[in-house]
């Protein structure tokens, strides 16, 4: 064998790294190198966020000339990096779609009679509570926004709500109401996504639709999901026609090894002779559980929830999510809805516009902020950029229809109403609407 070129330097190379004296100069040199490598990673991440961010805010034109009023500035905290990055991009894009449409039309006429452009300032929450908190503070204190949207990740909500309450700035939050804060009487935050009660109600409606009489449920350990799973009991038929059992265990969303939970789920289902399962977590986190359940030979009908409402679930889940029922806002497959669904025209326009602009179908997350932007437009047009007046206006808003649902903020700040929600089933890799719900939550088959 021949000795490597330069092996004279390598003789005491890696093998003696533990004992080699480190001089200050070389230490600094390599510290810089390591720092550079780590920084590069961070920069790449930041670039990812900025790349997405600039495309959204970059399209906001400046205020139009001639009779133009001040720009109405809104902040968005979207999880543009981390595990929810794709959904976070939808949160941003849903709002940006309407902003661009309003601005392209010359702006929105305010109570001062002038035309105002909207501007979105987008910050990355990073699926990180600390980062999200910093983003909210920055938008309020540095960017001086008049209103806020986001976050998406439920764990970011409590601190975000506390911040906007303290700052007295209205915020239309793209997330679900959190059981830990629902009773706090917050006045400045409005939750756009479904409440745990609504989710429970739609799951019971799905049980009734498919004729399930014995149902076993399991949820992840997030407060919202556990709350929803418990709330189902409140909406079950009083005649006891549906037996409902919750598996006495949870799991962490995003966990990859859910074989033990799948076994417990199947064992519980076998024990009571169940005919359906409820899995309360987000759709992507449910897939490992469903796969593990199917691998055990389980084949019961599965009822998911609005957090499954994402095309990526079908792509990633493949055959394992075939047949899964998903009660959710109608946005998933709007054109397939019957005309009787009151939200259909809004859904179709939203989906068409979104696809034309971004080249892919919108998720329910995009629908939330699109709805929010519609509310902002109505509120700003009525009262202008006064935070307190905006909040009052929003708080008295009733029967607002957006692609994410029908909102009655006067009644509750916690999510949309059940009317117009749709139960989808995944068939051959497509969201197929199988029923829609009326004001009482009763399913009508499609």
């Amino acid at each position: 064998m021949h000795r490597d070129e330069g092996d004279s330097r390598k003789i005491d190379g890696l093998g003696s790294i533990a004992t080699a004296p480190v001089r200050r100069r070389s230490f600094l040199k390599y510290a810089c190198l390591v720092g550079a490598v780590v920084s590069l990673g961070v920069l790449v991440g930041v670039a990812a966020a900025c790349g997405s961010s600039s495309s959204s805010s970059g399209s906001s034109p400046a205020a139009s000339s001639g009779g133009a009023g001040d720009v109405w500035k809104l902040g968005v905290v979207a999880d543009l990096s981390g595990g929810l990055a794709a959904a976070g991009a939808d949160v941003r894009d849903g709002a940006q779609l309407l902003v661009d449409q309003y601005n392209a039309a010359g702006g929105v006429k305010g109570p001062d009679g002038k035309m105002h452009q909207f501007e979105l300032v987008v910050e990355d929450g990073g699926m990180d509570t600390g980062r999200s908190t910093a983003a909210f503070n920055k938008l309020i204190m540095n960017d001086k926004v008049t209103g806020l949207m986001g976050p998406l990740w439920g764990n970011e909500v409590p601190s975000a709500q506390a911040i906007v309450e303290r700052a007295q700035i209205p915020a239309l939050m793209a997330s679900t109401p959190q059981p830990s804060t629902m009773d706090k009487g917050y006045k400045w935050s409005f939750m756009l996504a479904f409440s745990p009660q609504l989710m429970a109600q739609t799951e019971v409606a799905t049980m009734q639709l498919i004729g399930a009489t014995k149902v076993v449920a399991i949820s992840d350990n997030e407060g919202f999901m556990q709350g929803s799973t418990d709330f189902v009991k409140d909406y079950l038929p009083k005649d006891g026609s549906i037996q409902y059992v919750i598996v006495p265990d949870t799991f962490t969303a995003g966990d990859v090894n859910l074989s033990a939970q799948a076994q417990k789920l199947k064992a519980q289902a076998d024990q009571i002779g169940a005919d359906a399962l409820v899995i309360n977590t987000d759709g992507m986190s449910a897939i490992p559980l469903i796969k593990a359940y199917h691998a055990l030979g389980g084949d019961l009908a599965i009822i998911g929830n609005g957090a499954f409402a994402n095309d990526a679930v079908i792509t990633a889940g493949g055959k394992d999510v075939e047949g899964v029922y998903v009660p959710t806002p109608p946005v998933l497959n709007a054109t397939a809805l019957p005309d009787a669904v009151v939200l259909k025209p809004i859904e179709v326009k939203f989906v068409t516009d979104f696809k034309a602009k971004y080249g892919h179908s919108p998720s329910a997350f995009a629908a939330n902020t699109y709805s929010a932007m519609g509310m902002w437009k109505e509120a700003f047009a009525a009262v202008g950029a006064d935070k307190a007046k905006l909040n009052d206006y929003l708080s008295n808003m009733t029967n607002f229809m957006g692609p994410s649902g029908i909102y009655d903020w006067k009644a509750t700040h916690n999510g949309e109403s059940i009317e117009g929600q749709v139960i989808y089933q995944i068939k051959n890799g497509v969201w197929v609407p199988v029923a829609w719900l009326d004001k009482s939550g009763t399913p009508t088959k499609i």
């Binding site: 064998m1 021949h2 000795r3 490597d4 330069g6 092996d7 390598k10 003789i11 005491d12 190379g13 890696l14 093998g15 003696s16 790294i17 533990a18 080699a20 480190v22 070389s26 230490f27 390599y30 190198l33 390591v34 490598v37 780590v38 590069l40 990673g41 961070v42 790449v44 991440g45 670039a47 990812a48 990096s81 981390g82 595990g83 929810l84 990055a85 794709a86 350990n221 265990d249 949870t250 966990d255 990859v256 090894n257 074989s259 033990a260 939970q261 076994q263 417990k264 064992a267 992507m284 897939i287 796969k291 593990a292 199917h294 691998a295 055990l296 030979g297 990526a312 792509t315 990633a316």
Partner: protein
């Protein structure tokens, strides 16, 4: 819960444990030759799964071809990482090298997210869409593939280290770099081979496990941590120990998850790990000496 319930937990644990074992084998392969603890090892697994999937789905390559190209590409990437990041730091403190590999891990994860998707992907199962059922216990065909890969890699490493000149040179490099150099072993090449082999193991592992587990850009570090713990438990530096350590971790965490609440799973599994290491600090199969066996 009947006996089948617990046997099923063990079977599932062996499958996930094989994954950890494969990651641990990658750790050990690099460490034995170079002394480097490479925390980007789990990212080779992620890259293996994601690159093969997108070569297959987006580029329309035949899946076996996509897999082959992926293993090659990840091995070359590992070689590049060695030259660009590890080699310049070879005289530095080990902690700096570990930090550098963590930096590499972050870069790989961010690039993977940018290039592909932040959502998890699942690769296609190699064979059989329905699980095999034996005495009330279900076994997925893909689980058998993963366990088989683990056994194959373990056997391959044993053969490499004990029956081939390359392997013996790598072992010599691990045992006494100066001595190996003096007798003509190209120690630099041996280290490069270690990086190539460990990356190939990681990429193959990613391809094999992707039908079973959600493979996302950010899963690499989690796998690295589990693989590292497995390698320590089995006996740091010993390939057979690393794989056994992976199996033990997988079975412990799955059985603990089945017997206790999920929240206690890791606490129970790693609590047992601490107890084992208290009584056997050298690990289950390790000794205080550098092993010559693979």
């Amino acid at each position: 819960m009947g006996t089948a319930f617990y046997i099923q937990l063990v079977v599932s644990g062996i499958a996930i444990g094989s994954v950890y074992g494969l990651v641990a084998l990658g750790f050990v392969t690099i460490y034995r030759t170079s002394g480097v603890v490479n925390f980007a090892q789990g990212d080779f697994v992620t890259l293996g799964a994601m690159l093969s999937y997108f070569l297959w789905k987006s580029w329309g390559l035949a899946y076996p071809l996509a897999c082959g190209l992926t293993v090659l590409a990840v091995a070359l990437l590992s070689l590049a990482i060695y030259h660009l990041v590890i080699a310049p730091l070879r005289r530095s403190d080990p902690i700096m090298i570990i930090m550098a590999t963590l930096g590499v891990s972050i870069v790989i994860e961010m690039v993977a997210q940018l290039l592909w998707t932040s959502y998890p992907i699942y690769g296609p199962a190699f064979t059989g869409s329905h699980p095999l059922t034996l005495f009330g216990v279900s076994i997925q065909w893909q689980q058998l593939w993963v366990v088989g890969l683990g056994a194959l890699v373990l056997g391959g490493l044993f053969y490499l280290n004990n029956r081939t000149r390359l392997g013996k040179s790598m072992t010599a490099t691990a045992t006494d770099r100066l001595g190996a150099n003096l007798v003509g072993v190209r120690t630099g090449s041996m280290i490069r081979w270690a990086f190539i082999i460990s990356a190939a193991i990681g990429a193959a592992a990613g391809i094999f496990i992707s039908p079973l587990l959600p493979m996302a850009f950010n899963i690499g570090l989690i796998l690295s941590l589990k693989g590292f713990v497995a390698a320590v438990l089995g006996g740091w530096g010993k390939a057979s120990g690393a794989f056994v350590g992976g199996l033990v971790i997988g079975v412990l965490e799955t059985v603990a998850g089945g017997v206790f609440q999920a929240g206690y799973r890791d606490a129970v599994a790693f609590g047992i790990l601490l107890i084992v290491l208290y009584f056997r600090p050298q690990g289950l199969l390790g000794s205080s000496l550098v092993e010559t066996e693979g």
